[in-house]
């Protein structure tokens, strides 16, 4: 692999970090250039939660803390093997602020952080595509968070990018609701959605509108795509109170809603460039409270823009 002088560049410890996400703007089945169909998704990044891994190389076994981070351990092992370090072990610690079981990418974040930490410890620079391939091998299906804020249509079971959509999604303000507090969805073990023939075709216009939304920075179009995708998802992994949340979003001037297609969170999407958004978000939060679903999280996705300015 990338490691030319194996061992010589080994550091005392390597660091890996990655942000979580808030489910998907779009998830479904999409044709590639040759017309072959792939499962794919476009992630909504959430940069206020993250997973951090530290790896200290050592001979012998691989020890992981906490020891229930099995996917992260598997990912670290695969990364060592891919670097040719089959006999090498080490000490991996993973810490995460990403809630588990809500569909916010906690599992993939641990895996990606572990891969990056192991690579960093050995002076290896892995590209996002390589990290994605290792992540999918470690956990079967993987989110696209290794691509950061880049807007990609990502085949989550193959670890490949089906389409590069743009440098980032249009900025969004997201009011987050956990529709099933306490009821954890095993996001990894879920069977893939069994889309019918109409739904498979319906993903085409959603993808078309998303291309335009990203190209032109049109957050309103993005909201329409996310809502349409959430509607299809509702047939496969229904969210409690979906219609009520949708009605609150519509009546408080939200651009639309998005869901974690393998989790329990729903996001109400607002336009951060609109001065009315502060008032609208507060109103939506109050209305959500009245139906027993007080929003747990509130964040903006324009970190990428801020970085560009800096």
């Amino acid at each position: 692999m990338r490691l030319g002088t194996r061992g010589n560049q080994r550091k005392e410890h390597g660091l890996g970090q990655v942000n979580g996400h808030h489910g998907e703007i779009l998830q479904g089945i999409f044709p590639d250039d040759a017309g072959r169909l792939h499962r794919g998704l476009v992630t909504l990044p959430c940069n206020i939660v993250s997973s951090t891994a530290v790896f200290r190389p050592a001979p012998g076994n691989l020890v992981t803390v906490p020891d229930d981070k099995l996917k992260a351990a598997e990912a670290a092992r695969l990364t060592l093997d891919s670097l040719g370090l089959h006999d090498q072990g080490g000490h991996l610690t993973v810490e995460s602020t990403i809630p588990v079981g809500l569909g916010m990418g906690s599992s993939t974040a641990d895996v990606v952080a572990a891969i990056r930490a192991v690579a960093d410890a050995h002076g290896a620079a892995l590209g996002a595509d390589e990290v994605a391939r290792l992540a999918v091998r470690a956990e079967t299906a993987s989110d696209s968070i290794m691509h950061g804020d880049l807007a990609v249509l990502f085949a989550q079971r193959e670890g490949i990018v089906l389409e590069h959509l743009g440098p980032a999604l249009p900025p969004l303000e997201v009011l987050s609701v956990n529709t099933a507090p306490g009821a954890l969805v095993d996001t990894v073990k879920q069977p893939p959605a069994d889309y019918d023939d109409w739904e498979i075709q319906a993903f085409r216009p959603l993808r078309g509108m998303l291309r335009r939304a990203i190209r032109t920075g049109d957050a309103a179009l993005l909201g329409r795509v996310a809502t349409a995708s959430a509607r299809i998802s509702q047939r496969h992994l229904p969210k409690p109170a979906f219609e009520e949340i949708n009605a609150i979003a519509a009546s408080t001037g939200a651009l639309g809603i998005q869901v974690a297609h393998s989790g329990t969170v729903v996001g109400l999407l607002f336009d951060p460039r609109n001065p009315a958004t502060v008032r609208r978000v507060a109103e939506a939060a109050a209305r959500l409270d009245t139906i027993g679903l007080p929003p747990a999280l509130h964040f903006r996705t324009d970190a990428a823009e801020v970085r560009h300015v800096a």
Binding site: W198, Q201, P205, G208, M209, R212, A220, A228
Partner: protein, 355 residues
């Protein structure tokens, strides 16, 4: 990545999608070369994928219109045998072109006493299917792959135009309008959908009769017509449609066929009366087949009911049975055909109002 192109996957990808032309501030036309290529290709692809259509197999269908031409083009490049059942009304140039493309054309000579040519053609189709075991019948009126094929048009519209407020198009098999309307409404639940039919077509509740305007309307109600997609229905007569076809060419330089004129007449009116709403309308085929008819002043002047004047607006009617020979409109309100017809005939309504 490059793989040899299999014979079964050959087609005309760049001919399938329309060119999008901005006609006015808020009106966009989707001008097709031959709209039926897209559903025909999709139906053949799906049938080939699940084994209903074998390599080198036989396709049988009844059609005297552009769906037959699309099948013939695909059959020619993909190496299928194609049997088309039609009747004497088939256009002579189309007839020659189909023969050139290797089609076996069976012309039903005489209509049945009950059911007319339609039933006679279906009988002949059944015989052709029985005589060719393993042959595939696309049946565009009932095949759900027909409306589903139009997701690609909806994708193009969504990518190029973004949010659309109103979709206008003619209805024949039900594939294009029912398909595109449902896909676009998934992205915009408030989408206003206008179907364009012609008097004496039964699709939206008129009694069956002779129709001079072809390529829209029908003598039977195709299962692929999803009546609940439509907010408004307009019935456009032949003379008005042809005059609008000429105006589309004269004012916008788009050389299209008569169904395009019918769609343009209605879409242009709606766009003018709703200047802040974005409208897209479908122009199903080009004008070259109509050189001797629609684009011929002498032929037009000899048409029954020809006035040479285009109406400014439709005549609203209270029920489909009130429709006159000229441009009429009706608020369909996304109902089923049964719901609309059960809403009562004019006589029944008068009685109800009097009571």
């Amino acid at each position: 990545m490059s793989q040899p192109l299999s014979r079964e996957s050959r087609g005309f990808p760049d001919y399938e999608l329309p060119r999008l032309v901005r006609l006015t501030d808020n009106l966009h036309g989707a001008a097709f070369f031959l709209m039926k290529l897209l559903p025909a290709r999709h139906m053949l692809d799906r049938a080939a994928a699940d084994g209903r259509l074998k390599p080198g197999g036989t396709i049988c269908e009844t059609t005297s219109g552009t769906f037959g031409l699309a099948l013939a083009m695909l059959a020619a490049v993909r190496g299928y045998k194609l049997i088309l059942v039609s009747d004497p009304a088939i256009d002579e140039h189309l007839h020659k072109r189909l023969l050139e493309l290797g089609v076996t054309l069976e012309i039903v000579k005489k209509p049945y006493e009950i059911g007319g040519f339609q039933t006679a053609r279906l009988d002949r189709l059944r015989a052709a299917l029985e005589a060719n075991p393993g042959s595939f019948c696309p049946s565009q009126y009932g095949n759900a792959d027909n409306p589903r094929a139009y997701a690609e048009v909806a994708e193009q519209i969504a990518e190029r135009l973004g949010h659309v407020d109103c979709l206008v198009g003619t209805v024949g098999s039900g594939g294009s309008m029912s398909g595109i309307a449902r896909f676009l409404r998934h992205l915009n639940p408030d989408l206003h959908v206008i179907g364009v039919d012609t008097p004496n077509s039964v699709v939206f509740g008129q009694p069956d009769g002779k129709r001079l305007l072809r390529g829209l309307g029908n003598s039977l109600v195709p299962p692929n017509v999803d009546h609940r997609q439509f907010d408004e229905i307009h019935w456009v007569g032949a003379a008005e449609a042809f005059l609008a076809t000429r105006r589309l060419h004269q004012q916008h330089a788009l050389y299209q066929g008569g169904t395009s004129g019918a769609a343009y007449l209605v879409a242009d009116w709606w766009a003018r009366t709703h200047p802040d709403r974005k409208v897209v309308t479908l122009f199903p085929d080009e004008g070259h087949r109509y050189v001797a008819s629609i684009y011929n002043d002498d032929w037009l002047a000899a048409l029954p009911g020809w006035t040479g004047v285009l109406p400014e607006a439709p005549q609203p009617v209270a029920h489909p049975s009130d429709v006159r020979p000229s441009w009429s409109s009706y608020r369909w309100d996304r109902r089923t055909l049964d719901e609309v017809l059960a809403a009562g005939t004019p006589v029944a309504r008068d009685l109800a109002e009097a009571a």
